[in-house]
């Protein structure tokens, strides 16, 4: 069964905790939704709203993606065979590096 989607409040805790774990204090930004007039930095509530949207959209979409198994693969072994795709940071460079 799929877990219950997190609420805004739960995501706010997650986001603040994640950033804090990295040493980033969101309270460096102005309170509320009004940007800092001097630097243009957004208010922390505005940023939190954007970050919640990012977690629900990008993070969830990428997490849900599974690399495909070869066409015609028996579903029984599809999960295993989909593991065979390897990560490559520089795919174009790799076309040459793989020739060597």
């Amino acid at each position: 069964m799929a877990p219950t989607p997190p609420t805004d409040a739960e995501l706010n805790v997650l986001i603040r905790a994640r950033l804090a774990a990295l040493g980033i204090d969101l309270d460096q930004l102005p309170p509320g939704t009004t940007p800092d007039p001097e630097t243009g930095s957004p208010g922390r509530d505005s940023v939190l709203a954007s970050l919640r949207s990012f977690v629900r959209g990008t993070v969830a979409t990428l997490a849900a993606y599974q690399l495909p198994a070869p066409v015609g693969t028996d579903p029984e072994v599809a999960n295993a065979l989909s593991q065979q795709h390897v990560p490559v940071l520089y795919p174009s460079n790799s076309t040459e590096w793989r020739k060597a």
């Binding site: 986001i15 994640r18 950033l19 990295l22 040493g23 980033i24 204090d25 969101l26 460096q28 930004l29 940007p35 800092d36 001097e38 630097t39 243009g40 930095s41 957004p42 505005s46 940023v47 954007s50 970050l51 990012f54 977690v55 959209g57 990008t58 993070v59 979409t61 990428l62 997490a63 993606y65 690399l67 495909p68 795709h85 390897v86 990560p87 490559v88 940071l89 520089y90 795919p91 174009s92 460079n93 790799s94 076309t95 040459e96 590096w97 020739k99 060597a100």
Partner: protein, 546 residues
Amino acid sequence: MTSEPFDRTVDRRAFLARAAALATASAVGATVGLPSVALASSSLSTSTGPGTRRRPLDQPDAYTEPRPAALAEPTELTIAEAGWLIRAGRLTPEQLVEAYLARIARYDGSYQAFNLVLADAAIAAARAAARRPRDGVLHGIPLAIKDNYYTEGVPTTANSFLFQDFVPPYDATAVARLKASGAIVLGKTQMGPLATTRATTPAGVITTVNAWAPTNGGIDPGGSSTGSATAVAGRMATSGIGTQTGGSITAPSNAQNLTGLKPTMGRVSAAGIIPLTYTRDHPGPLARDAKDAAIMLTAMAGEDAMDPRSQGLPQVPDLIGAASPVYHRRRVKLRWNTRIGVLPGFANGTSPTALARAAYLAQLAAIPGATLVDVPLPDEWSLLTGSNFNNARLPERTEPFMPYLRTDLRGFGVSVTSWLQGALLGGNEFITTQRAKLLLLDRVLNELFDGCDVVVQTDPVPFDILGLPEIAFPIGATAAGLPIGTILGGLPYAEDRLLSVVAAYQAVTDWHLRRPADPPTDAGARGAAPAQVLRLTAEEVAELSQ
């Protein structure tokens, strides 16, 4: 069994060179008269420091006799034309620099293309150039440098509060190579803060305008290499350089009637450039035509010990030759027979862009050697190149900026949101997208390039994700006179093929010769009234970020 283990007996570089030589030998007969991409392999570039690869820049094809219209105005000259005049002793680097400085003084208040103009240094460099033997076609040519390239002893801000006091101790490799080729740094150009959007102040206030609409800041000049584009289009530099992570060379080139070349990943060293996304930061030229783009890339390209992404790649081919039109019985033909892939819907509709695309395809098809081919989009194209997969680039901007994120969030100004987004993407998701990149490339090579040699693009991002080369160039104009451009994409390290196609197209069309009218010179022409001050919000920047 050898007397020593392999780790000390096999020199990897020599091994690669031998393997390349063998592969080339095995393909004898198939390599003659083909662009570099068709080579089975090629020997590795030798390690080259700045200034050691200048001969290609002095070949006859690098020089073009100036058009009569350009003779009267040095700032109108292309690199190839200015180089021709300098070689002939009919123009000095100092005259050329002075002409550009005069235009900058007169018009950059309106354009706001430059962050910093190095007038005294440029004149000194021009005088020094006159006292030494010519270096090649770039000898004495003034260039505009995007302000994220390190320039030794010269502030390099990336238009960010974070770098407002940063003075690099050395030149970026690309800058060093251009200077070693004889070029002159005229100034540093405005850009989207940290290379994110069109050029604004770090706080989001729009600065640089489109040279084709200098009184209307609302007309997009393209970003993030905005200032370099406006400087070249506005005839305040002969050529310029930018960087592309998500369309930042192709977009301003298309918006301002230029020919911009985003090379394959690694073709140009990114050493000494403030990073935005390691796997996607491509340095390249914004030029006036294909020949100039080839000249610039020839100077910039090649292996660099400072950047591993540039190593183990094919030699830089003869780009300038590739960008020189070929004639058969006085009629232009393609240098190499080329299948031009057309994506579904590319020229559909009746918009000015669609009509320009249709005319462009018809003109291309009429060039001997060109064949238009309908090609399909690979499986899962929209998903794997869409915004969510595109966002996988964000941790790459977050990680190198961690010290700044911990201490100075407001220093990111209006651009901070995407740096925080990157901190929220987990390692799992990042690895998934790196796995998907190779899958996507395999599909592009097997499903798309199986039927063509180059392919039209409607969006630069997919090939930015993959590191594939793209060239942007003008193909028309709107009823209001604003440029319409397009993009061609190619196979890895096939910049020569792309240049050859665009050079032939530009030999039979004149869109690339159009220049914008000069802007009004009164200081109040734009931006003075409060209602005309345009500013991007953090939310807009997060949406538009390259």
